[in-house]
Symmetry: C2
């Protein structure tokens, strides 16, 4: 057996990795969009404690798992989740294929909204939105769905900044993603949004590959085209509701390891943050607080901000953060800039 | 922004990787347990075609996904799947906790088997086995389950070789796993076996981390201990039946990319092999044929071998392999040695 040779190769690989990680660690400030303060300090100290050989809190590289909520944590979620916007904007195509839907609620209501009656939006309940998403997300092959989302993303614009949604990511969080990866962490998105939807752009937008996106997932059905070629169709069957308790359950299903560090911003992330924090050794849970009405939005009851349906942040969540030692990130105080396009 | 520095670091990392991969590629034969023949040749040519820069079939590193069935493809599945043996051997502990089960079939039948009446095994139907697995795999925390499987694996022995199950892996397939990884492939196990069961030993046994094990999965339920600490309980709710069409469906759910190379050995792998092979560009599907009665087992109708319930290999599957250009691996002819302990 080629034991000696294998050992040599392994040593070279390890040396390369150590050299690279050391250089990366000694480089310019990897969190340069963050103001000095308790949040930045907590992240830097956590990384040092878990990646320094000989540290009592050292975590082997294969166990370095980091999880990030998406909407409101990595990018803007107001005034409405971009995936819901996708669903609404797909309704005309749906109605074109099935004209009888034009007069049936909630599809008729959506058409009113899209024709300029923004107030009609208020009529849509959560159940309506689910009905619209089920109708617009299923009954097509997974490849067709990806192609349509890609096309929509290239054209759709956020109403306030008039920019593609994928440009409205938070630069400080992009820095955290890169910083953790440079220190051997595998970065996962764990989102209440649709797994197939987020996978379309996560690699290009966040450097997170499809297999590291955990999200609300519908089932698929394996079948054959006329020429015998197999394909998967998206089914209206919920396999994973990746919100609330569904987040740690989804993490167990898809990753099988408890994260050492987790980021969220709403009550839907509460259980993921609890679960991460409750593990052995060094664990860090962080909560993004939307308290910057000028540069982004301010919502949630902490600091007397009004609560909203999108990205609910209750006083109880804020109290739990304080009680359990989670780190609260103030967008207003902790972030020098919010968006990548600001710094250009 | 530190663009120049980031570019330099990226260049160093890339150079390290290229050096390592080049050295690895030029090393001693990575498939030294394989006889020269069409199967070995197909694997080596596939890797060259998909990893050589400039090759028309080159596959970018992030898309290099390889999937492996486990039972009968990576390790011995006869006379019975090891996970079923785990379930049977857990029955006495279950009966101790709930004595009323001792007189109720199928638990009473299992006790007869364990007391030496091997013939009683024949009485157990697939439904019985499912009932036993549901009773022995659920109702405990995921951490308790892992600890019990680990303990069982340390003690349990295969009846023929009198060795732990984890030593009965196929050396030629271990070489393929390493060879593909050395060439930038992410190796996944895609098994009909229990995801949580296989994750316990996959990293140590195959170098496959928990997040790269896709298997039949039950749901979990998030809850709190008395002291408020959160934990997950295994529930008797099927989330993914990772057999047959469930394999490509599970691959889409858990990985989100179509494999470029896939290995299986039974009808339960048929759809995964079809799905892998039907993708664009270079794709390779391989089928392990158990045709070595002396060194392992011979089963399946190809070459006139008898069919069995464990690892069903029908004539139709063999015909599909030939028709679709899958590569058939003959254990008898293609493998110099079967097990790692033989070569010591």
């Amino acid at each position: 057996m080629k034991t000696r040779r294998t050992q040599n190769l392994a040593t070279i690989a390890l040396a390369c990795m150590v050299v690279f990680i050391t250089i990366a660690a000694q480089g310019a400030d990897p969190l340069s969009s963050w103001n000095d303060g308790p949040a930045k300090q907590a992240i830097v100290e956590f990384v040092k404690a878990t990646t320094t050989q000989g540290s009592p809190q050292f975590v082997p590289i294969e166990e370095r798992i980091a999880t990030f909520d998406q909407d409101g944590t990595l990018w803007v979620e107001h005034p409405m989740y971009s995936q819901v916007m996708y669903g609404l904007e797909r309704v005309p195509a749906l109605v074109k294929a099935k004209p009888e839907l034009a007069k049936v609620a909630p599809f008729s209501t959506v058409l009113e909204v899209l024709h300029g009656d923004r107030a009609a939006m208020e009529k849509l309940t959560m159940d309506d939105l689910m009905k619209i998403l089920a109708a617009t997300l299923t009954g097509m092959s997974v490849d067709e769905f990806s192609a349509e989302v890609k096309k929509w993303l290239a054209e759709a614009k956020d109403p306030r900044w008039k920019k593609p949604y994928t440009e409205l990511t938070y630069l400080p969080m992009q820095e955290v993603l890169k910083y953790l990866r440079a220190n051997g962490y595998k970065t996962y998105i764990v989102t209440g949004g649709g797994q197939d939807f987020v996978r379309v752009y996560a690699e290009q937008t966040y450097g997170v590959p499809p297999e590291q996106v955990v999200g609300t997932a519908l089932g698929t059905k394996y079948g054959y085209e006329k020429d015998g070629k197999p394909f998967l169709t998206k089914e209206p069957k919920l396999v994973l509701n990746d919100n609330d308790a569904g987040k740690p359950e989804g993490i167990h299903l898809m990753i099988g390891r408890r994260p050492h560090i987790a980021f969220g911003n709403s009550t839907g992330d509460q259980q993921m943050l609890e679960y991460a924090k409750a593990g052995d050794g060094a664990r860090l849970s962080l909560l993004v607080l939307h308290d910057d009405a000028e540069r982004e939005y301010a919502y949630g009851p902490a600091h007397g901000l009004p609560d909203t349906k999108v990205g609910t942040f209750t006083q109880a969540l804020y109290d739990e953060a304080k009680k359990n030692g989670w780190t609260v990130i103030s967008m207003k105080n902790d972030w020098k800039v919010i968006f990548p396009f600001e710094s250009k």
